[in-house]
Symmetry: C2
Subunit: 335 residues, 2 copies
């Protein structure tokens, strides 16, 4: 194998075939992909299917806790899982800059394969484009995914109801702060790393405990603030948070204080918020806490009066603060 | 609406919501997309589903006969159709450079919407990333797609059989030569434009006439040469072409002669080759020629002895020429 990606790898000819055989088939190996047809041919056993897409442009591509490959699998698996679906099949489409290191590409592909295996999804179809040096920066990956909806669940951003208890599965802001520190060479004391992970098994567990969960969303770009504002708007409700209850790591808290950031607005890649009817809240919280990815789960607030579509937080010091939809630039290339 | 794309449009906050509402929902408008969940929730009436993905990085993004938007819909629709599926649902994921013209984006989105409508597919889920100026060149679009397989068809690159007649639906090389001329400011006499189009209705027609077609492939990157070599290799057969029978426009022929190119190696975006059992060849050819996208359809060759996996052509002047798998760089950013 050559040690750099060349335009020939994207030509559709011998170079592309070499790349497919030496890399993608080697690591993604499964009977559907190996057929190498223009489309993957799938046998679908569910009438209700979830379908999603996400492009990943993160910079840096390798970071503490993950890499663009792991992220691209987890992101799409999570988008399917929060819709109440069992993630099944993924596509992977690469846009690679000419001259990109073949070793890095192999590391990324191995990471995708490993993550897909652990998350129990198959990468069944793909595409590779190579663009001339300078036309892009390194590598972008799109993953799209198909999942089969679980029976008897009805999870939608518009389903939040007054009285719902809001639960998150752990500390907020880890991914965004880690990426920011990596990018700006900020030395972090402590053990911060991205929370990038696949949450499908955790979500399956809590749905088995309580299929009546109204909303599940992953709090990625724009952080928890963006997600809660979207839900408030789509469900036409208000949300009351308790600052005391919101789990944030000391390292994240410190960095945010130093830089004037708010952990509620920082991206996560392994955190969901769930809107649970009050009578099931304790059971869901227990189930989360018994899962390795939910040890720091916490009830953080509740849905209050219908109509105003406001998200606000009762603060440590007894005040009340509006948590607006993020409106600024945020940190680009965070996912 | 602002007149340029800013990083805020990719932040996941207000800017992203504005873009979704003012552009994507406006033009892609359908009940599934409008729900704005993390995944599109689909009702799947077929047990056999085709799933495909493609990223489009073409340069220039506007060209005679199409644009990156139209291309991104047609490309994925065609990948589903050549698998013997009725294209149903598409995702669209944008990677846009900061500063990209909002007007151009709107033109592209309108073009996608119009093409999707004509091709009778729905864009049901999407994603938008904005990367800082210089991190990419303009706009890249990924579309993934889901189709429902027609009953009783079995179309695979490995299904070609000795005696199969090979039919193409029209002239070869139009797309690649058009893009090359645009990019190099070569003035073209005549009326050449890209053949970019969606072939799902043409393919449906011929499958209704003959569900026993063994292979259908669209001859995109690497041209017909790449596709035929892939099929020869996967079906373990040889292919004999007749140069006399291969339809090529005069403009393409002239440009190829001038630049030392071979139309068989030039990309198409609206051309398929079909491997048809001999006794159905005439019917399929007639059906093609009766469709506006198959007027110039032609039988171009046949499958010969099994074993050697060779593609060769009987030339005008009575010789025999091997048509190898393309091995060079080709023209980058052709799709």
């Amino acid at each position: 194998m050559e040690n750099k990606i060349s335009l020939a790898h994207g030509s559709g000819g011998k170079g592309t075939n070499d790349l497919i055989n030496s890399l993608f088939l080697k690591y993604f190996n499964n009977t559907v992909l190996n057929e190498l047809n223009d489309s993957a041919l799938l046998s679908v056993k569910s009438k209700n299917v979830a379908f999603t897409t996400d492009s990943f442009v993160i910079n840096p591509i390798f970071f503490k806790g993950g890499d663009i490959g792991k992220l691209s699998i987890c992101g799409t698996v999570n988008d399917l899982a929060v819709s109440g679906a069992k993630p099944m099949y993924l596509s992977s489409s690469f846009i690679i800059e000419e001259g990109f290191s073949m070793e890095s590409l192999e590391t990324i592909v191995k990471s995708m394969a490993k993550t897909a295996e652990i998350a129990n999804v198959k990468i069944v179809t793909g595409d590779t484009k190579v663009v001339p040096k300078g036309s892009t920066d390194g590598i972008f990956i799109n993953t799209s995914g198909i999942g089969f909806l679980y029976d008897n669940v009805d999870i939608k951003a518009s389903n939040a109801r007054i009285g719902d208890v809001i639960i998150v599965n752990g500390t907020l802001g880890d991914h965004g702060i880690e990426i920011m520190c990596e990018r700006n060479n900020i030395e972090m004391y402590g053990n911060l790393s991205s929370d990038c992970t696949h949450l499908n098994f955790l979500i399956k567990n809590i749905l088995e405990t309580c299929p009546y969960i109204h909303v599940i969303r992953d709090a990625t770009r724009g952080g928890l603030a963006a997600v809660l504002n979207e839900i408030a708007s789509m469900s036409n409700i208000s949300i009351e948070l308790e600052e005391n209850f919101i789990p944030v790591k000391e390292e994240v808290k410190g960095t945010c204080e130093m830089l004037g950031l708010d952990p509620l607005y920082i991206a996560n890649e392994g955190k969901i918020c769930c809107f649970v009817p009050e009578k099931y809240a304790y059971d869901v919280l227990c189930k989360m806490k018994n899962h390795p990815l939910g040890i720091n789960a916490s009830i953080i607030g509740k849905v209050v009066n219908k109509g105003s579509m406001e998200v606000y937080m009762n603060t440590f010091i007894g005040g009340k603060r509006i948590i607006d939809m993020p409106s600024g630039y945020g940190l680009p290339r965070i996912c």
